[in-house]
């Protein structure tokens, strides 16, 4: 328990650093959002000092006060869940993110868990059946691990997507059929969501699974040489039990690797969403960047960081649950 609290402390610190960086970044880049907004306002009329003041207030970017005051103000807003106002979407950033997040989390969660579980199982079998035809999965896994997410997404769209030119099996645009169904708790809508998630999820699974396969397979090969696996065999335990001895121990480093992997997967999914116009955070981040909507970009950054930190925390909790040695480490 103490170990977990300590971890939690580390994550709070990491979250604070991430929030601070996402506050500083837009202020460090050349040009500032207020100037951009003033320019936009002037294209439709004169922007006087009141107008400038209003824009600054709206963006939370008061260039006439010190950075410190802005920072405190920013943190205060954040605590109240106020991430500012997005001019490009003409809405509160918080409510926008709340509407994007389920898409991203749903796709990311399902795809990552499936990829981790299936990849780990394949890794176990590959290590156990080392020397059989399964060894041919190794170069395949390495290939998929090396291929960029967006490229794989494009290839899948080309082959399976409705907007592609070959099989046209699965829809490859948007999160659901925006012309055909009404959002709500109705079957056609849910079916449409599932259908539209196939290709993006497949992309994330294929691109991330290679890493999980390789990491588990290699870890498993090492663990299988450990004395306790030899002893498990010497004990005359059933083969399944012996594999479990090895797999259970090989899983530990893989769970800690998961923390590193998850941030790569999140980064990859941002690109996947862009390819599929999938209405999650990544797609809107792209839009916000294009529109120079700093508040939205900043808000999305903060949320992505928090999501990654939460996934890391989850992996840590799981690790503490499955490794007795981590439970009482100071």
């Amino acid at each position: 328990m103490r170990a977990l609290l300590r971890r939690l402390g580390v994550y709070l610190l990491a979250a604070w650093v991430a929030i601070t960086v996402s506050f500083l970044l837009p202020r460090a880049v050349p040009g500032n959002p207020v100037a951009g907004a003033i320019a936009r306002a002037q294209s439709s009329g004169i922007c006087n000092s009141f107008c400038v003041k209003a824009i600054e207030e709206q963006l939370g970017f008061n260039v006439h006060t010190s950075l410190w005051v802005q920072y405190v103000q920013y943190l205060g807003n954040l605590v109240h869940g106020n991430l500012g106002f997005s001019w490009s979407e003409n809405a509160q950033v918080t409510s926008l993110i709340v509407s994007y997040l389920p898409w991203t989390l749903g796709l990311l969660g399902v795809a990552t868990i499936m990829s981790f579980v299936v990849g780990t199982l394949i890794g176990v079998v590959m290590a156990w059946r080392r020397g059989s035809w399964l060894d041919w999965l190794m170069p395949a896994a390495t290939f998929f691990q090396a291929i960029p997410y967006f490229f794989l997404a494009l290839v899948l769209v080309l082959i399976f997507g409705e907007t592609g030119s070959l099989l046209k099996w699965f829809p490859s645009l948007y999160g659901f059929d925006i012309y055909g169904v009404d959002p709500g708790m109705n079957l056609p809508y849910i079916a449409s969501i599932l259908g539209h998630a196939v290709l993006p999820a497949l992309t994330v699974i294929l691109a991330s699974m290679g890493g999980f396969i390789l990491s588990m397979r290699n870890q498993m090969v090492t663990t299988m040489d450990e004395d306790f696996v030899l002893v498990a065999r010497a004990k005359g335990l059933r083969t399944g039990k012996v594999v479990w001895y090895a797999a259970r121990n090989a899983l530990l480093p893989c769970v800690s690797n998961f923390s590193v992997a998850i941030s790569i997967v999140v980064a990859g999914q941002i690109l996947v969403e862009i390819v599929f116009n999938y209405p999650g955070i990544g797609y809107h981040l792209y839009g916000a960047l294009g529109a120079l909507d700093y508040t939205l970009v900043q808000g999305i950054f903060v949320v992505i960081t928090l999501v990654v930190l939460a996934a890391n925390l989850l992996a840590d909790v799981v690790y503490v649950l499955i490794d007795p040695r981590a439970r009482q480490e100071a």
Binding site: D227, A234, K235, G236, K241, R248, R325
Partner: protein, 389 residues
């Protein structure tokens, strides 16, 4: 001390000739015959174990000694089919003789190398248990000692209920001087000595007939080492299991083993009752090993050790593998591989040309054997031999 008619051509089978084998009259429990193990394939293969014969008598302690890399562990692990890859068993047989049934009906002998997975699994641990060097690595780090006992008993004694399994595990821990509340501990929560005790308790769980002790005390400090060994030997006297004790420390074996076999470069080179081997080694290599340990008291004298280093198993010297390091090598040692054969008039075997045909062994290798009645008393006093007594 030459053996008329014996030559390099003698087949291993001749060892069983009447009046020859040291185990004559001893009821064997594990017989290793002509075992060969290679690491790797083809021309590059290292012959880690070459044509080894070894018999473990029921209830006896057989020491297996040799330098690192001499093939001791490989021999033992191959015999029970637990060889790690890329080890390959290329020949031989390993006969396990189960204890006779209570009605006196002799049990059927099982060739472990030919046995199927099912048969093998049935005798593993229930008849042949192992204790490895490092108990930290031998115990599953993610489950408690109790859980590891439990799954062992549940696998081999399906009739036992959960509560009786726990009781049995507790009793076993008490047998090795631990308290039953240790069942709730994880391996990392215990000291090295305690882990090794727990491992021994686990090895005893199914009352096996054979224990393979692969350097069971090497990873422990000398005090714990002695405690554990005395514990083990006390248990052996009470429970009567046979032990194959692998170590590089000959002086330990002298105290605890009935017989000692010495391995060099994958071959068994000498085999004798412990006291005989220690007091009067017949093999130059054994002589060298015995002179590697400084005496605790007595006058100071030079430690010579054995010059040179163990040979490359992929490229053994012709003839006797030890001849380049042997101070007494004769021309024949460079040509023919000596076989492990009995010496006339004693319960011991040696693979050395110095004791064959017309060769004359140096006086160092001809000390009187304490196990054999000698017409005259030992003239040579050996300080290094005295310290262990």
């Amino acid at each position: 001390m030459s053996l008329p008619g014996a030559s390099a051509m003698t087949s291993p089978g001749s060892l069983a000739a009447p009046g020859a084998a040291p185990d004559r009259g001893v009821d064997p429990v594990l017989e290793i015959r002509g075992l060969c193990v290679d690491y790797g394939f083809g021309d590059d293969a290292a012959h880690a174990v070459a044509d080894c014969d070894l018999t473990l008598g029921r209830g006896r302690v057989l020491g297996l000694a040799g330098e690192s890399g001499s093939g001791k562990s490989t021999l033992a692990m191959a015999a029970i089919r637990l060889l790690r890859s890329p080890g390959v068993i290329t020949g031989g047989e390993v006969l396990f003789h189960p204890r006779p049934a209570s009605d006196g009906e002799p049990a059927t002998t099982l060739d472990l190398l030919a046995a199927g997975e099912q048969e093998l699994r049935a005798i593993r641990w229930s008849e042949i248990a192992i204790v490895l060097q490092s108990a930290l690595n031998a115990l599953n780090p993610v489950s408690t000692i109790g859980a590891q006992f439990d799954e062992l008993l549940a696998t081999h004694r399906p009739g036992l209920g959960r509560a009786s399994r726990r009781d049995r595990a507790g009793d076993l821990l008490e047998l090795v001087g631990m308290t039953p509340d240790r069942l709730r501990s994880y391996p990392h929560e215990m000291s090295g000595g305690m882990r090794q005790r727990a491992m021994i308790a686990m090895a005893l769980a199914l009352d096996p007939q054979v224990m393979i002790l692969d350097e069971p005390t090497t990873a422990l400090d000398v005090v714990t080492q002695r405690e554990i060994l005395e514990e083990l030997m006390g248990l052996r006297d009470r429970l009567g299991f046979a032990a194959l004790f692998i170590t590089h420390d000959l002086s330990l074996l002298v105290e605890f083993a009935d017989d000692i076999a010495v391995m060099y470069a994958g071959r068994l080179m000498e085999r004798a009752p412990a006291a005989s081997l220690f007091r009067s080694p017949r093999l130059p290599y054994t002589y060298g090993l015995l002179h590697c340990f400084p005496p605790m008291h007595g006058e100071r004298h030079r430690m010579d050790g054995i010059p040179g280093s163990p040979p490359d198993l992929r490229d053994l010297p012709p003839g006797c593998a030890f001849h380049p390091r042997c101070q007494w090598a004769i021309p024949r040692c460079r040509q023919d591989v000596p076989k492990l054969e009995p010496l006339t008039g004693s319960h011991r075997e040696v693979a050395c040309w110095l004791h064959r045909d017309n060769a004359t062994a140096p006086p160092e290798l001809m000390r009187p054997d304490p196990a054999v009645a000698q017409p005259r008393t030992a003239a040579v006093s050996d300080t290094s031999a005295e310290r262990a007594v």
